[in-house]
């Protein structure tokens, strides 16, 4: 009891420990926002498969090529850094020190993200159909080319 008594009297004349109230910087190595570089990405979609919260979605184009569009939700992300570790190309995804901006009601973050999720699902199905069609056509062409070559050879023999 005496120790706390003396400590209280000492603290009465020293500076409080709760100042400053706000304005401190996060330290180095803080788990912050994820930044994407489009030039280095090879579109393997490993980051989408490994994210525990489902915060990265890709929107697939119509024509079956490999030119995907990257969409990221900073309000679902848990900043674990798994996508950065899984990415096979160095520098395509980087984890920075910055903290995310808070969203207000006018931004409507939930509704816009639900739209993007639906768009990603539908565009993936269409892209797979388009890719299957492309592959079938390529296969037919290859078979026709083979047939054509055989007939050519037979003609030559004859």
């Amino acid at each position: 009891m005496l120790k706390m008594f003396i400590e209280s009297l000492k603290n009465l004349f020293s500076e409080p420990a709760t100042l400053p109230g706000f304005g401190t910087e996060p330290p180095k190595g803080y788990r912050g926002l994820i930044v994407y570089n489009k030039e280095k990405c090879i579109f393997c979609t490993k980051c989408e498969l490994v994210c525990p919260a489902g915060a990265i979605r890709f929107i697939y184009p119509e024509d079956g090529s490999r030119n995907l569009e990257y969409k990221y939700n900073p309000y679902l992300c848990i900043y674990c850094g798994e996508c950065v570790r899984e990415c096979p190309k160095e520098g395509a995804l980087i984890q920075t020190d910055k903290m995310p901006e808070p969203a207000t009601k006018e931004d409507n973050p939930n509704e816009t993200w639900f739209e993007i999720e639906k768009l990603a699902e539908e565009s993936k199905k269409k892209w797979q159909l388009a890719l299957a069609k492309k592959r079938q056509e390529a296969l037919k062409k290859a078979q026709q080319a083979k047939q054509g070559k055989k007939e050519d050879n037979q003609d030559k023999k004859n």
Partner: protein
């Protein structure tokens, strides 16, 4: 002299508010944090007036307002009246209003808090009456106005009574180690748990008036030398706050044992020796 006492009694809520605000800053600094601004009790007053009050029934709310006015009247009777004992008994009446208000509600926390408040009264009031008797022995009058004109220093004749009073201040002002009736971790506020809005403001202000009451009694111990009284009350203020910050809460069995078997014999011993020395030797 009389008009100083009358002004203090009339303005006692405002003076009590300043003392309470200053005490919050001192308590916060002792805990190594920055406290609220000095005028915080008055900001609370304005905020509580804007809230919508929810009443249990009208008798309960009337007891709250009666507690506030009775405390103000008791302080005025104590400071400007003819007899110190009348002021102390009116103080008991004001606490009785509070206790009855706590009993009139069905909430278990309120009832338990009122029971504990009665225990507080049982522990503290005998000591205050012994204090009045001691002051009569030294100054020769029962009237507070005459006591403030006494040229000597009653503290020299009543040291043990003063020590017993300072150790009983936590029980009057509801601070650790004796803040049993409003233990907010156990019974969430005791008898004041069902008041809200304007009626809670009445009880909150009545507590400020108790601060003026306690420090007026400290000033009585130094007679007419009020510079010494100011210094003494500053020392008592810092001591009571440091004691608040270095003890935990006790149970009511321990509080009653401490008050009846240690503080009361101490004060009685002092008065006994003083009476023997004055009237026999």
């Amino acid at each position: 002299m009389a008009w100083i006492l009358k002004t203090i009694a009339f303005l006692s809520p405002i003076i009590g508010g300043f003392i309470y605000g200053f005490e919050r800053i001192v308590r916060a600094r002792m805990q190594n944090r920055q406290g609220p601004p000095l005028l915080q009790p008055f900001y609370d007053f304005v905020k509580l007036l804007q809230k919508r009050p929810i009443q249990v029934h009208s008798f309960h709310s009337m007891m709250g307002i009666a507690f506030f006015f009775a405390t103000w009247f008791a302080l005025s009777a104590f400071l400007c009246g003819p007899n110190i004992l009348v002021g102390l008994f009116l103080h008991i009446l004001a606490m009785a209003f509070f206790i009855i208000g706590g009993f009139s509600v069905l909430s278990p926390y309120s009832v338990m808090g009122s029971l504990r408040e009665i225990v507080h009264l049982m522990a503290v009031e005998p000591l205050l009456i012994l204090l009045a008797v001691g002051l009569f022995l030294v100054t020769g009058t029962w009237s507070v106005e005459e006591m403030f004109k006494y040229p000597g220093i009653p503290l020299v004749y009543l040291p043990l009574v003063f020590i017993a009073f300072v150790l009983a201040i936590p029980a009057i002002l509801k601070k650790s180690p004796f803040d049993i009736s409003e233990a907010h971790q156990e019974i969430i506020g005791g008898p004041e748990v069902d008041y809200s809005g304007f009626f809670y403001e009445a009880i909150y202000t009545a507590k400020w008036i108790e601060y003026v009451f306690v420090f007026a009694i400290v000033f009585l111990f130094t007679g007419a030398n009020w510079w010494l009284g100011l210094a003494l009350s500053l020392i008592v203020f810092i001591f009571v706050n440091a004691l608040d910050n270095s003890t935990c809460r006790t149970t009511f069995h321990q509080m009653i044992k401490f008050a009846w078997f240690f503080l009361l014999p101490l004060a009685a011993l002092n008065i006994f020796v003083l009476a023997l020395w004055r009237y026999v030797l």
